[in-house]
């Protein structure tokens, strides 16, 4: 009977936000309770660098889909935690390249089994709720890319 549960499509935004916030909290809790000195929000940067090697700020920003000041801030924290080092690109002095330190690489090994457990839990949740969710979410992103919300809105509100 809760009115907020009967929003239909209008509930999409809230629903996405609640779930995403929830998962982030869960991530934070996992690292905290395992006593691992790692912040959930570092994950995308860390994971990308581990898999792709040294990368510039802008390239990380583009790949991960957050603003470059966000990357700078996360990088600053990870540098304090000794996970990351920075150097200037020799051939283009504008660029600052971020790379895992050797300590960062060992941290990656420590984290791998945790990620694996998280993967399994998420997969279990996805199976329980409908295993097509990932595909459908990515379909949603693609649909938005093909014709953005704004364009669709105009098409529908414009007098035919």
């Amino acid at each position: 009977m809760d009115i907020m549960e009967n929003l239909g499509p209008l509930a999409l935004g809230s629903s996405l936000k609640r779930l995403s916030d929830q998962l982030m909290q869960d991530g934070i809790r996992v690292y905290r309770e395992l006593g691992i000195d790692f912040e959930a929000k570092w994950f995308p940067v860390f994971y990308y660098l581990r898999n792709e090697g040294p990368t510039t700020v802008t390239e990380l920003s583009r790949a991960i889909g957050v603003s470059h000041p966000a990357i700078i801030q996360i990088a600053r924290e990870m540098i304090s935690a000794n996970l990351l080092a920075v150097y200037r690109d020799v051939s283009d002095k504008r660029k600052r390249v971020l790379a895992l330190t050797s300590y960062g690489k060992s941290k990656a090994q420590e984290l791998e089994p945790v990620w694996q457990a998280i993967r399994i839990v998420l997969q279990e949740l996805l199976n329980e709720a409908g295993s097509e969710i990932l595909n459908e979410l990515s379909g949603l992103e693609k649909a938005l890319q093909k014709r953005g919300f704004h364009q669709r809105f105009l098409d529908h509100s414009g007098k035919s």
Copy 2:
């Protein structure tokens, strides 16, 4: 080939966040371009009050799923915009009841067709991407409610 697209289940969080941020931006843009003096983030409070009538801070917080300081802040803005009025509950002086002003109610009438257009666009997007998304997302929330992420994680990482 983008590494961030091949995270599998680990992509769930990022994917949810990107989409939710995107939709919020789209909402903001719609109101702005239509020249309507209304903020997208007011929607849940506004919509709830319009449908359910006067409601206390805590009840709104619970219904919408956001902290009570967030409600207070949003309410403050909506009061400045003349959409909301507050009064103390007579039988329980701790409670502050929020209610739409008559201007707020007329604003609701102005907004209804906009919401209708948004509903249609979202429904179209959902159909394009897999019309079960809403059900599956709510299934995901239910699954998490039934047995939280943390409990599931322990079950999987605990030595059998």
